[in-house]
Symmetry: C2
Subunit: 318 residues, 2 copies
């Protein structure tokens, strides 16, 4: 066993067992985790964080797998954080990402982590960000963060990436199309996967139109980058090197334009607000105490008081 | 124009224009909204809140539409809150739910609201809960809350419902199956829609197995209710009355077993925590000030300080 205090040193030195334990520690979000994160934080900021997101059925995991293999062929080390759409109750990952990623196993230049859902607002985003930081500090050149791409938590996670790849596939239904609308604005690179299926060209054309519309009104300071649209067949690797080329170009663009620094500031701001909020809540709950907290909940449930009046009373009017 | 102070009175008296304005006020989350919510809160608690959730492509909106029509045929009034998977940036709903719901338009016993995404952690869940409360207070017998059913925000929203209907459809891909796993545990009623498609019986059997597994380890106090599995063809209304029968049985079960009161307490607790957290953050940000806040963000982005040390310094060690 390695003592918690040595975990960071050992993990940063390349000890994979220490790395795995450090990630578990960080996921658990205790006091020790905070100490560990504080000491590894100066070592972060080197990795290229690449979000890979898309609606269900687009072949996202297969593409992540191929991207990782291609990066390894280039000699680039890769961390993978797979955010599972698992239960908020069991806290356990239900899908075997590690199974799907089997052909990467045994490679020292790859580290794969499946995230269990955290079961609370923002908890998953917090844990994913922290695990990404550990892999960054541990020296992985690229960290791929795979999310389902539906729902706000996923969008929040995608926003912490330097480069976000949004995956589409031909022939998905109308509701899937709807999901795209929300994803379109966070996309830096668009991939039409399953490009051998009928309708791939149509899907690409439809994306081109959406990009055209969004691009013209983006106003988020990254206007000079127009998201390219690529086609892949992840199953056999067709088009994967081209995606990596574009991802590398995007990194270069970010650095030269100052957008990399801007994204770092945005990420820092999001994290500061999230941690502040959680810490403030913890402190107030400790002060109010469990019994009084239960009484407030009962009174709200009984409609004796509304939640806003309750909060004003608990905190005092200011 | 109606003054804000009269909006609640007018809306509760059945003025639809006031109701629409009150909902917009509540969505905006200002000080006036809080006053309005406080004064309408004692009138809430009567409506049966029914969450309708499912993966993309299951025909969810069509089923919501049919459920609403069927409820109207029974003389039941219906509020519909459609939570759109729209952009976190534009803050606007991108899909025309109101268009899809056209055949309900003009009916005084129906009120439909499409939610725009709130663009911040928990914001959508907060707004959806508050809009649901307005419809509850305004006297709608049933409030249907339609969510995409992927991602944690949606799960959070579903948890505030009394009864959650999870919709499946035959022939969706593996990743869609994966989404189901997380939804299975919040399901009170399972519907296999598009039951005229090949594979519907298989889907129902697969659900039966998952339910069997989850049911045995649920341990959340509702073990006596075993989620029934129904089949529908939402397009022509087949099976819709049967779904409503089961929803009514679930309400009866909740009331008799004490689970209704338990869910009210859970909802109250979630809301109390969310509002506390938001209010605490607002107060600290006001105290810290914009300029100092920016300095902290810059220092974190530059790796001069980690976020946990920053928060401890801002709040003071306790």
């Amino acid at each position: 066993m390695i003592a918690d205090s040595n975990l960071v040193t050992e993990a940063l030195a390349g000890n994979r067992y220490a790395l795995a334990r450090l990630i578990s520690l960080v996921e658990d979000d205790g006091t020790n985790a905070r100490g560990a994160l504080a000491s590894l934080y100066p070592h972060t900021g080197q990795a290229h964080i690449v979000g890979v997101t898309g609606a269900p059925g687009t072949g996202k995991s297969t593409l992540v797998n191929q991207l990782a293999r291609s990066l390894r062929d280039q000699g680039t080390t890769v961390g993978i954080v797979a955010v599972d759409p698992s239960s908020p109750f069991t806290g356990g990952a239900l899908l075997g990402d590690r199974v799907r990623m089997r052909d990467l196993a045994g490679d020292e230049g790859v580290f794969i982590r499946s995230m269990a859902s955290r079961g609370s607002l923002g908890g998953l985003a917090r844990a994913t960000g922290d695990v990404t930081k550990v892999l960054d500090a541990a020296g992985f050149d690229v960290v791929l963060v795979e999310t389902v791409g539906a729902g706000q938590s996923e969008v929040e996670i995608a926003r912490t990436a330097h480069t976000t790849i949004v995956i589409e596939a031909p022939g998905l239904g109308d509701e899937v199309q709807a999901l795209k609308a929300g994803l379109m604005e966070i996309a830096d690179v668009l991939v039409v996967n399953k490009a051998d299926r009928p309708g791939a060209a149509n899907t690409a054309r439809a994306l081109e139109m959406v990009i055209h519309r969004h691009h013209d009104r983006r106003g988020n300071g990254y206007d000079a980058w127009r998201p390219p649209i690529l086609q892949t067949i992840a199953l056999d690797g067709t088009g994967v090197p081209e995606v990596l080329d574009v991802v590398a170009q995007h990194r270069e663009y970010l650095e030269k334009s100052g957008a990399w620094a801007e994204r770092e500031r945005e990420r820092a701001e999001t994290e500061l607000l999230n941690v502040l909020q959680q810490e403030l809540l913890n402190r107030v709950l400790a002060r109010v105490g469990e019994e009084q907290g239960r009484t407030w909940v009962e009174r709200i449930a009984a409609r004796e008081v509304d939640v806003y009046t309750a909060v004003e009373t608990i905190l005092g009017r200011q």
